[in-house]
């Protein structure tokens, strides 16, 4: 066994490298295409990616099942919801966690072969990550809804929006390397986004990048429809923040001795974390119900437990860690402006750095707390808190609110015990 000093020094050095790589990664959006054409592993299989740590159909929550049923209908693997459920139960459909394919998706995070995805890469390493397109709020597949309106919108996104965005991104790449997502995220924080549950500024800035390359590349009607969709969806940039965050988190992954968290994800049944020095292993506990504000007619009794890969934002210093940047978000998720500031301040107690590029004007341009150290979480008893959407627990209904969720501490304990085994402590 190594001496205490050596272990401490090894961890500190590894954590410094991990967080520096996380904060200095440069995610570039450079392509949009259908999932089966670009995400390795799809091939001709009936493969569906989902949010959170790995889970089987038998253990999936209502919202996750609803999204899977919708994906099966969208792919024409079944014609009715009932047949879709039977197919999912049969074992013929393979379910894999998005993170295991370098992908991330908000809420149910379902990605099936014919869904369009964005591809981002790290400027330095070229390492890629994927995310699906955002459908907007309310009745959407990612919240477990799968009625005709939801499927038709997905089909329109495939046949109209995806070719338009593919052409626009290609046009941008012909002029420069792609869209520098980190610059948009940095600017969006200055403009009042937390870059998890508020993405109004980010979506607007993205639109400014895309629009000059949208018209003239596809039929004008398709360009206009695409513009109208993007312009009316204040959350379109959410998925792009996620893929940017995934690139940043992956840059910090797999560094021996590092105790920095490199993924936080929920599948609606379990919440899981990954730790840099422990590779791709998941450490999990039961997902909890967020504390939130509900749409009229709904309450916490209707809520699905916490779900989605979107906590990759908190992993890299955004979302809950950047709440002080977004006073207006408390109207959507509950609480006061003071609470938003306190949430950022609380993150300081469990992180090891302040982000040099993600700064908050409201607190004198202080950097967001970045690099969650499992040791700090366990010693303080403070676990990360995140902004999140809330889905109905019954498949087929969709979003019913938004709120704040506090992660359980058990995954951090499990990770620490595994760390002790791995490093002989």
């Amino acid at each position: 066994m190594e001496s205490l000093t050596t272990i401490d020094e090894s961890i500190s050095a590894a954590n410094a490298i991990a967080v520096e790589r996380m904060m200095n990664a440069e995610p570039i959006l450079y392509e949009a295409d259908l999932a089966y054409k670009c995400i390795p592993g799809f091939g001709t299989k009936k493969l569906i990616l989902h949010a959170g740590p790995p889970i089987s159909w038998a253990h999936m929550c209502g919202a996750q099942r609803g999204a899977v049923i919708g994906a099966i209908l969208y792919e024409h693997w079944a014609e009715t919801a009932s047949d879709a459920e039977k197919l999912a139960e049969s074992g013929e459909v393979i379910f894999v966690a998005c993170h295991n394919h370098s992908a991330v998706g908000p809420m149910a995070g379902v990605i099936s072969p014919n869904m369009p995805v964005f591809i981002a890469k790290d400027r330095a390493t070229g390492k890629t990550a994927f995310t699906n397109f955002n459908e907007g709020l309310g009745k959407a597949l990612r919240f477990g809804a799968f009625d005709t309106q939801v499927i038709r919108r997905l089909e329109w996104m495939k046949t109209t929006l995806a070719p338009a965005l593919k052409a626009a991104v290609k046009s941008i790449v012909s002029e420069r390397e792609g869209i520098a997502l980190k610059l948009i995220v940095s600017q969006a924080l200055q403009m009042g986004d937390d870059c998890h549950n508020r993405n109004l500024a980010g979506s607007s800035l993205f639109l400014r990048e895309i629009v000059p390359h949208l018209y003239g590349k596809v039929h004008e009607k398709d360009a206009s429809e695409s513009y109208n969709f993007l312009n009316s969806n204040n959350h379109f940039f959410l998925n792009l923040v996620l893929v940017a965050s995934k690139v940043m988190a992956d840059a910090a992954s797999n560094i021996r001795y590092s105790t920095i968290v490199t993924a936080i994800a929920r599948n609606g049944t379990e919440v899981g974390i990954r730790v840099s020095g422990l590779g791709d292993k998941w450490f999990t506990d039961n997902a909890t119900i967020p504390d939130g504000l509900y749409f009229p007619g709904y309450s916490a009794a209707d809520a699905n437990p916490d779900i989605g890969d979107s906590t990759i934002t908190e992993t890299v210093g955004l979302g809950g860690a950047a709440m002080a940047a977004s006073p207006s978000i408390v109207k959507f998720v509950g609480g006061s402006v003071k609470d938003a500031l306190e949430m950022t301040n609380t993150f300081k107690k469990i992180t090891i750095a302040r982000h040099p590029h993600f700064t908050i004007p409201y607190i004198d341009f202080e950097g967001t707390p970045t690099g969650i150290d499992i040791r700090k979480v366990l010693r303080s008893g403070i676990t990360p808190r995140a902004n999140t959407g809330i889905a109905h627990k019954v498949p087929g209904i969709g979003q019913i609110g938004a709120g704040i969720v506090t992660l359980p501490i058990l995954p951090f304990k499990k990770a620490l015990r595994e760390y002790a085994k791995e490093y002989g402590i």
Partner: protein, 53 residues
Amino acid sequence: MITLPEHVRILNVRAKLFYDAAIGQNVEAVHVDWRPEPQLEKDIEEILDRMGG
């Protein structure tokens, strides 16, 4: 309903809700963000001790 003495000063610990309520009623108050140390299992404490940091 409990009524407070007229001249009261409050030292509030942990639950900020009470501090905010006191300030809202123009009562002099100081907030201390303190919480008891988490109760960890012995093996977790021992691992953390050995890891340092």
